[in-house]
């Protein structure tokens, strides 16, 4: 499912990232790449969401979150 659908406090594994090289590069520089385990921190309807990866918090716009596919662990 897309990251934007995941609910709060769930542990997730990134399966794949749909998008251009640019987006993938920016995400992987922040520790978000296929295989990385993340935790959803805030996901309110409408706005951007916050995930935790490796002990740091990243705010991700909703548009981008739709392009990140995850599995619940």
């Amino acid at each position: 499912m897309p990251l934007s659908m995941a609910s709060r406090d769930k542990l997730l594994e990134i399966v794949s990232i749909v998008g251009g090289r640019n987006i993938k590069q920016r995400l992987s520089a922040l520790g978000l790449y296929p295989g990385s385990v993340i935790k959803m921190v805030t996901n309110d309807f409408g706005g951007p969401l916050i995930v935790e990866v490796n002990n740091s918090k990243i705010a991700i716009g909703r548009g981008m979150a739709q392009k990140i596919l995850v599995n619940e662990i």
Binding site: S16, I17, R21, N22, K24, Q25, R26, L27, S28, A29, L30, G31, Y33, P34, G35, S36, V41, T42, D44, F45, G46, G47, P48, I50, V53, N54, N55, S56, K57, I58, A59, I60, G61, R62, G63, M64, A65
Partner: protein, 630 residues
């Protein structure tokens, strides 16, 4: 690198290692790292990386000397850093393919500034940027050489090469960290967690943001008020008095240049330094504490409506301090069109330099509502920026790609006093430099055009003649007197000089009351005054909830106020304030836009910042008259 976030930071280090650059790693924020319970085996870590590692605490100057020494040593050694020295290799299969490609690259004529292994990796990753650069430099596309290797890797690992290499790098990193790093059992930061639950809450986020902005605004005005009064008295009543005495035997024109032109003009500008220091201080506090990125998060949705994401908000709010660093701050935005649109909107953010204008007019016309009117100026700037953003976002050059927000939210930190003060000082210093150079020059030139041809009254001066010709254009805006029109021009150079310019065109002379001058007595008086100002500042800031009023004695009690009243009505003064809010902020901002985006955008900005203020001021003045104001 940020030692509290090693995994992610090492990713960049690995990329740099691939470039085979000599380096020394600084493990910064090491105090926080240890405090949160991490343990690291530095010797093992150094061995793995093949790079020297120095723990540092930059805010406390810890480890910096060692770091610099080691960096110099590494730089001097001139040793070529090769992959074997770094010893961090991908999986055998991938390394084989890289080696294969390196062999092929050896046969090509390539600029030898690039390490071949690095080029091979980039080609295998299909890095567009590197491929384009090479094409330019050697005149041919060598990317097909990598094709067979890419296919081999993709087939083996069943994914695309970029993803495979990214995962492989993180694999290497995790392997190292597993061996050298001991993580604390419970490593979330409870304070940050709790605060974020409130601050980024979907209902509370925006109200909290606006409340904070209000508090910043209130503290800035209340806190700086007494200091403004003091500096004003210090310059005009003290320095002015004794400089006047020193020049008492000089020819009249020199005395006039020094007292009216330089001390009067530059001095008036300088009296607003405390105000700027306060606003710079609070901006630094918001930045360093970590709240700024939360604000970007909270405002993301609103910013989307004008085609930008929340990150664009950071340059905008910096614009409240000064537009120039705000223009440069757009560099942090990834998308070029986002950058342009943000830069175009930044000048509508009312910078510190515009405050003196509001302060002057509100203290003459709107004493009762001073703080509210000034606040209204800020809000008006934001509203116009939103309007312009809405108009521009659908035009070709600014059509944004709707690049989404991606932003780290650092843990909250209590900023060190040293950092806050150095940040405040750096920004204030650049203002003082401006006061000493551009503004001083503007004041002298202005003094010259007002007082020439020699012996003429301001009414017959060169400036008056020129301004009178242009003045009718400004009739719809309500401020079409030559004195006011003439003060617009210095505003292009620097907004700080507008107030001084008005002082000069209106022919305000500092009345030096010829009392018994006792230098020691006066000096003591000044020092006592400063102490009183400190006390009053604290009383003001924390004594009440609503912003207080500051008055500038030399303005409110003097002929300046009378003269302002003779050429402005409250309505035309308001219209003038709005014009100055939206007009070209200063020549330095324009230069920054030119430097970052080229002539085209700069001329566009000049046009925009001339037409919009004219229209808005006209609407306000004419609308106000229809409603019966005057």
């Amino acid at each position: 690198m940020d030692s509290t976030n090693l995994e992610r930071n090492l990713y960049l280090t690995l990329l740099l290692m691939e470039m085979e650059k000599p380096m020394v790693i600084a493990l910064n924020m090491f105090d926080e790292f240890e405090k949160s319970g991490y343990k690291i085996d530095l010797d093992k870590f150094r061995k793995y990386l093949g790079v020297d590692v120095v723990p540092t605490v930059a805010t406390k100057d810890k480890g910096l000397k060692e770091l610099i020494d080691k960096a110099i040593k590494v730089a001097k050694s001139k040793k070529q850093y090769r992959k074997m020295e770094y010893r961090l290799l991908f999986d055998k299969f991938i390394e084989n393919e890289i080696d294969g490609l390196v062999e092929k690259l050896k046969k090509e004529e390539l600029p030898n500034k690039y390490p071949l292994r690095w080029l091979a990796i980039k080609l295998i990753e299909k890095d567009e940027y590197v491929i384009q650069i090479l094409k330019k430099e050697i005149g041919k596309d060598i990317s097909p050489l990598a094709k067979e290797h890419i296919m081999a890797i993709e087939e083996r690992f069943d994914d695309d090469t970029e993803t495979i290499l990214t995962e492989a790098r993180y694999g290497i990193i995790n392997g190292i960290l597993k061996d050298v790093l001991k993580k604390p059992k419970n490593y979330n930061i409870p304070f940050t967690e709790k605060l974020d639950k409130i601050v980024t809450n979907k209902y509370l986020g925006l109200p909290i943001f606006f409340a904070l902005m209000y508090i910043v605004f209130k503290l800035t005005f209340d806190g700086s008020g007494p200091f403004i009064d003091w500096v004003d008295g210090f310059i005009n009543g003290y320095i002015g008095k004794y400089v006047g005495l020193a020049f008492s035997s000089a020819p009249h024109w020199i005395k006039s240049l020094v007292i009216d032109g330089i001390i009067g003009g530059v001095g008036l500008v300088l009296s607003f330094v405390p105000l700027m220091m306060f606003i710079y201080f609070f901006l630094a506090l918001l930045e360093e504490s970590g709240y700024m990125s939360r604000a970007a998060f909270v405002l993301d949705k609103i910013m989307h409506s004008i085609g930008l994401n929340g990150k664009s908000f950071i340059p905008m709010i910096l614009g409240f301090g000064c537009n120039v660093p705000a223009i440069y701050a757009t560099r942090a935005l990834e998308n070029e069109k986002d950058r342009k649109l943000t830069a175009v909107l930044v000048p509508f953010m009312s910078c510190g330099a515009r405050l003196p204008i509001y302060a002057l007019f509100t203290s003459v016309f709107f004493v009762k509502y001073q703080a509210s009117i000034v606040l209204l100026m800020y809000v008006l700037g934001i509203i116009v920026a939103i309007g312009v953003g809405l108009l521009l976002k659908n035009t070709k050059p600014f059509e944004t790609a709707k690049s989404p927000l991606l932003l780290e939210l650092p843990p909250y930190r209590i900023p060190s006093a040293k950092m806050l003060f150095s940040s405040t000082w750096i920004r204030t210093r650049s203002f003082l430099k401006k006061a000493g150079s551009i503004i001083l020059l503007a004041m002298v030139v202005l003094w010259a055009v007002i007082n020439l041809p020699s012996g003429s009254s301001p009414d017959n001066s060169y400036l008056a003649k020129a301004a009178k010709t242009v003045a009718p254009i400004f009739a719809p805006t309500g401020f079409d007197r030559w004195q006011t029109v003439a003060s617009i021009l210095p505003g292009v150079i620097a907004k700080e000089s507008v107030v001084g310019a008005l002082g000069q065109t209106l022919g305000v002379e500092e009345k030096s009351e010829k009392e018994k001058a006792s230098f020691i007595e006066d000096s003591r008086e000044q020092i006592l005054g400063l102490t009183r100002a400190v006390i009053d500042s604290f009383k003001n800031m924390f004594g009440s909830l609503t912003p207080g009023v500051f008055e500038i004695e030399s303005i409110s009690n003097s002929t300046f106020s009378q003269k302002i009243k003779s050429v402005f009505t409250p309505l035309s003064a308001f219209s003038y304030m709005v014009f100055m809010l939206l007009f070209i902020p200063c020549i330095v901002t324009l230069a920054a836009i030119k430097q970052e985006f080229g002539w085209g955008l700069m001329f566009f900005e000049i046009g925009l910042l001339t037409v919009i203020p004219y229209i808005v001021s006209t609407v306000i003045y004419q609308g106000g008259r229809l409603l019966g104001f005057h």
